[in-house]
């Protein structure tokens, strides 16, 4: 286990380093932040002065050396757009994204397991067909549109929930549901198909035949065996939410998290802030992967970690 952890951490480090190098290269290649930040009508002298202040007048290798030096100290420097330390902004916004992602993914898992099992018990039955249809709908609806639809129905028509922002506990409900829906749809389908496979196995028939209550057969044996792919997908959904879906959902709901901040940093070509955000998300993705590997071992002791 210890060796396994070291190895995974080592791999994770390489991934993170790779990501940061790519971010550096791509951001330096695609644009000139100075031009985007100053008004269009600013004069050439003003541009040069501004460039100098930001350190973008140095050569690319010098900038890269400075960048790696900063990275080692976990100091990305000041955000170009906000003019304060980029990591300060990340730590300010990250908790909100974690709250939203946790709420969304937990909601998806908590609903997906019972719905998937119920559907699997009678494949082709009414509950099954309903679940499959709704899941397909959930997968096909663009999240952006879904978010606005929920706002129109629950905030504008019925006025039971706020339209946007993160001022109180109930502000999280609509964005969390929006974030959960596609994940829920995929998870339900997977729980359903895994359970159908397991319920057809010989050991399920044996357990039932020897008089074990059906609910125990499903809950203890079949579900546990079906759990490994479900955990894999849940972890994958978590990563997708953190590194992608939150960008859309946070924008629609004006939820001041890291995803919205990432979009704003891109619009303003804030390379420094963007680097800090990508770096943070990359670290989280690496740790989620390690946590998933460990959970496999806990679910199924036969799995060897190597």
């Amino acid at each position: 286990m210890g060796r396994f952890m070291l190895k995974r951490l080592w791999h994770g480090l390489i991934v993170i380093l790779g990501v940061t190098v790519i971010v550096f290269v791509v951001t330096r290649m695609v644009g000139d932040p100075v031009r985007v930040m100053l008004p269009l009508e600013a004069t050439a002298e003003q541009r040069v002065a501004f460039e100098k202040r930001l350190g973008f007048d140095r050569s690319i290798p010098v900038q890269f050396a400075a960048y790696v030096g900063d990275l080692v100290r976990l100091d990305f420097g000041d955000s170009l757009w906000q003019r304060r330390p980029a990591m300060e902004i990340v730590f300010e916004r990250l908790p909100l994204t974690l709250q939203l992602t946790a709420a969304g993914i937990i909601l998806a898992i908590v609903l997906a397991i019972p719905l998937g099992i119920v559907a699997a018990l009678r494949p082709g039955g009414l509950a099954d067909r309903l679940t499959v249809t709704v899941s397909l709908l959930g997968l096909s609806v663009p999240q952006f549109w879904l978010g606005l639809l929920l706002i129109v129905v629950f905030a504008v028509q019925f006025r039971v929930l706020p339209t946007s922002g993160a001022a109180s506990a109930k502000h999280i409900i609509l964005p969390a549901v929006t974030l959960a829906l596609p994940a829920l749809a995929r998870l339900v389908m997977l729980v359903r198909s895994s359970m159908i496979d397991e319920l057809n196995q010989q050991y399920v028939k044996t357990a039932s035949a020897k008089g074990m209550p059906f609910i125990r057969v499903v809950g203890m044996h079949a579900l546990r065996n079906a759990a490994v792919p479900v955990v894999t997908l849940a972890g994958w959904e978590l990563i997708r939410a953190l590194a992608g879906y939150t960008v859309v959902v946070e924008t629609v709901f004006a939820w001041p998290g890291l995803g919205l901040t990432a979009i704003q940093a891109i619009e303003r070509q804030d390379l420094i802030l963007l680097q800090a955000i990508v770096f943070t998300v990359a670290i989280m993705v690496v740790f989620i992967n390690i946590a998933m590997d460990i959970s496999y071992k806990m679910i199924d002791p036969r799995i060897r970690l190597a």
Binding site: V30, G31, D32, R35, V36, M37, L38, P39, L40, E41, A42, T43, A44, Q46, A49, F50, R53, W81, Q82, R83, E92, R93, L96, L148, I151, V152, A155, V156, R159, P162, T163, S164, G165, A166, A167, S168, A169, K170, I173, T251, V252, F253, A254, P256, L260, I263, Q264, Q269
Partner: protein, 494 residues
Amino acid sequence: MRIQGTKKTLAAGALAAMLAVAPAYGQEITIAIGSEPTTLDPQVRDDGGERAVNDNIYETLMARTANGELVPSLAEGPPTQVGGTTWEFKLRDGVKFHNGESFNADAVVFSVERIINPEFNSEQGSFFSTITGAAKVDDLTVRIETDGPDPILPTRMYWMKMVPPGQAADPGFADAPVGTGPYKFAGWNRGNDIVLEVNEGYWGDAPQVQKVTYRFIEESGTRLAGLLAGELDVITNLLPEFVGQVPQSANISGLELPIVILSSLGGSTADVRVRQALNYAVDKDALAESLFEGFAEVAEGQLLAPSFFGFNSDVQAYPYDPDKARALLDEAGAAGTEVELVGTSGRWLKDRELVEAVGAFWSDIGLNVNVRIFEFDEYLNRLFDRDTRADAIFVVSSNELLDADRPFSAYYHKGGIGASNEDDALAGLIDQARSETDVAKRSALYQQAVQIAYDQAYFLWLLNIEDIYGMSERMAWQPRVDAKLLVKEMRVDG
């Protein structure tokens, strides 16, 4: 365990719901702006979100009426010229900053020296590039020096917010602004809102609205929903297609003028007849109606709106006359030639749609139009490329000072960053106007410049896009031509 946790969350949600329906006081309003300010130091950034808030906290020596007329604010009267490069301002007596500091000549000198200091590196620097310093004469008299005669110095002082010398040294100044304005800072919950309260000791008329909350909502559909749900009282940048849905809307001629820069330096557009044909070919009324639902006025053949200084009321838009356009093309022997039209997407309201519509009008008169929409950074490469000018480049000019100097220097003057002409006469007029302190003479110079550019058709002038605001039923407010959101001018009924 999990069930208990859920119960707690539900209880918290119910509590929050009860708090949310507590009765709101009539004189508290909520305004949605597109982006959160990054700082509340009024001298650092060139940022619309920051301005929206700080325009109510801070004041300037000069201000504008809702119609755009320049009037004294913290200055007691219009400034007077003392020698060629000095302007003298008399200051209003008895004005205090929110922290009790007196507003006086020292505060003005400090504010001027602070913002023009190269070390300070203000993004607003381009507004004040002519200013070399300020000197106190007595407690309520101050002189501002410029590097040459500067006729628009009074206008520049409309942009420079006055900061308190004592408080501005405080490291927390950027997070807790202190001005002389009708509202004072009450709190900033980063990511969520900024709250201002009325300044009881304000020197001017007491405003009606007692408390204002700013929320930051980037997505226009979400802003609209917030207004419809009754959470917001004023939203900015309402899309024209949403106007029918909101309780109230107000619109006014805005600061943004989309144009197409036509190159006289080479290619098919080097011939003035072709450039004129490109103007005659476009039905601007149709663009205003179809793309902006009528919330845009046709630009009168110049990069100025009627309320801007330098506007020439004798010049009118090229009429829509495709036959004349074809005739001019034939005369120039340019029928069927290729024209490259460069634009970008998602930077300005309906930018892509405008470029594509212009391209279609040009195709109609028999040109081979090559519409090229670039991502913004690549687009800027084309706009700023001084060596090879594209035949036609779409750009939107935003004129915060309501004066011809900046847009003309950038696009009309042959040395400007976005100019595609080498007209010495035109450049000479703009240079002359820059140091002409006689208002009437300066205005006449710009009017001549407008006429030359119009005759030479150096641009295709399109529209003057209106700003549209959505408002709740209870609001009473008339938007301003300078697009400032001054809460002291807003009223709440009921």
